[in-house]
Amino acid sequence: MGRVYLDHAATTPVDPEVADAMARVLRGTHGNPSSIHAEGRAARALVDRAREEVASAIGAEPSEIVFTGGGTEADNLALRGVLRARRADGTGLVTTAIEHHAVIDTANDLAATSDGARVTVLAVDRDGLLDPAVLERALDLRTVLVSVVHGNNEIGTVQPLDLLGAICRRRGITFHTDAIQSVGALPFDVRVLPVDLVSMNAHKFYGPKGVGALYVRRGTRLATVQTGGGQERGRRTGTENVAGIVGLGVALRLAAARRTTESARQSALRDRLIAGILGRVPAAILTGHPVLRLPNHASFCFPGVRGDELVIACDLEGFAVASGSACTAGETEPSPVLLALGLDPASARGSLRVTVGRGTTAAQVDAFVTALPPIVARLRDGHRAAPGSSVTAPVASPRT
């Protein structure tokens, strides 16, 4: 079978059509989009077309799309840009306990530095959902920005942006969502969704790494973070990554076109995988909401194992997967997102994330479902063996 890639939440392979489009740019259109001459105009036209593709995919106007160097930069621009621009209205920033580092670390940085943001972090329920009533209670007259991730990368839970956004809109509070995991997979129309800023990242929807976008609804006040030449209407300056932007546009256009069929196909594979794992691995926990979750996303906790060892063991058997826990300071640290669900640290350490994609087949899912239970059993046995046992004690026989 060869290796099986099941880590699409980390990144996706570049679609061949995207790669071709980018190669044509790299080989053929070298101009700086800001230049007046014909070479510059040719590059400018490519950027314009990509902007239209992105806007069209989410129901926006092209002028509302800002290209960035990636999703983290988009999140930074959204948080820092809004707080700085709306400083006179207040300094309150409300977000959740299950945001990506790009949001929560930026929020903490804003609180700690001279910007002096007042950051409120909202708890979620055990499925990772934010209760709109909880959000409502947390808002006050000095809140200027709410940031809620659309689809969480670790646990897959998808938030009710329509309800959350409506609450913010009623109070004149700017509403940002990190849609990095979701925009290629779920319907997303800003004409219907009451969102003001949306972060996107090309390499999550079969585009290249190093380029992203931020949707900024017309009328939203946003200060710039990166100062310089005035590109992107002054919102994000710097000579455009033309090839990357072209790639992003093509990738999102393709994703939007294939969304309905692909998401149905992938969610069927996801459910097959979830059923297989829950059925065959004792004491397995599915993390995140069982229904309101990203179509390609399965995440588990296995008490009695360490997530990093799980990933290594799977890798040695040819399966690429991920774990939410990070290895620091001698002991595997459980992820804050899992702890926010109310999981105990011991279970949270044994986290595993499996995300299917366009190239995933049922045979691959079945192979993984067959391979994982013995791996978990072996690691559980390995942990139960007394730590620090004498070197003269007998070692277990090799795995069969």
């Binding site: 990093d308 060892e309 290594i312 063991a313 890798d315 040695l316 290895c327 620091t328 300071a329 001698g330 002991e331 595997t332 072996r378 690691l379 046995d381 390995g382 063996a385 730590p387 620090g388 046992s389 004498s390 070197v391 003269t392 004690a393 007998p394 070692v395 277990a396 090799p398 795995r399």
Partner: protein, 351 residues
Amino acid sequence: MAMSGGVDSSLAAALLAERGEDVVGVWMRLVPDGGDADAPRCCGTGTAGEQARRAADAIGIPFYALDYAELFGRAVVDRFVEAYAAGETPNPCLACNAHVKFDALLGDVVRKLGGARLATGHYARVDTAPDGRRRLLRARDAAKDQSYALYMLGPDALARVELPIGELRDKAETRALAARYGLPNAGAAESQDICFVPADHRALVRARAPEAFRPGPLERTDGTVVGRHPGIGALTVGQRRGVGAAAGERLYVLRLEPERNRVVVGTRVEVTATRHALRDVRFTAGRPPAARFAARAMLRYRGDLVPAEIAVEGDSAVVLLERPALVAPGQAIVLYEGDEVLGGGVVRRAA
């Protein structure tokens, strides 16, 4: 393959891979990220991890970083400090081999990662005798032999350990092979002899065990006070002192006594002995050759071999050397028969 980031373990990995073995590189993180002066210079820091990863990539084998910082802190660094505070001179490499590398790591490699054996870049050899017994042997190049540090490995561990570079003739051969494999660290400095010697171990011990740095009396064996010492944590058995100018003779630290915060000094004759008691005795065959037997004793890493008679009782032993020698408590005496490591133990404080 336990990779340290140094040229020896990288070369060992390359040799195994070329031999057609299914090799997976692992690197042990031994200090927390952003760690400090406690960092072992050999292999536990982020820089070493980077070098190990690049070497694995150059060879074309998988590579994983495994975190043993907490265990290393407890089993090696804490013990190191406690030993100095107790008046001993520890060899932390031995603690690392005994509790981390050939215990936790070996166990994890076999039980969790499904490995058949753990290879390291030590200059030593393991082979199988005709009767099936695994033997630990000195390296072919005696000048680089590191078998002293592996004396505590028993039959089960030796069955699972592989030492690819012990067969190499000399340093020149090592470097030539490393260059041939295109290893990124081929030109790097020699790997450290002792992996963990903090730049100033006294500072580490002083910070963790300040009670070991209280001044106290410096005495001769007959109780005559000849001066003051700065704290037993600052001294090592066998260390020369500048005292005794009046007596016109060179004095050496004979004994460190934390209970009375006293340091006993003596002449060279007084501080050397033929009889040395050992604790935590281990044998590579799992048991001693006999209750009493003859062997050659190595008294410190890269030391000379001294003929000796050994008497074993449980996991203690008494070593009677052919000639008197100075051996610091906390160090190991390792016993050889020909090229084979029989075993060894840790030197107890002299009574």
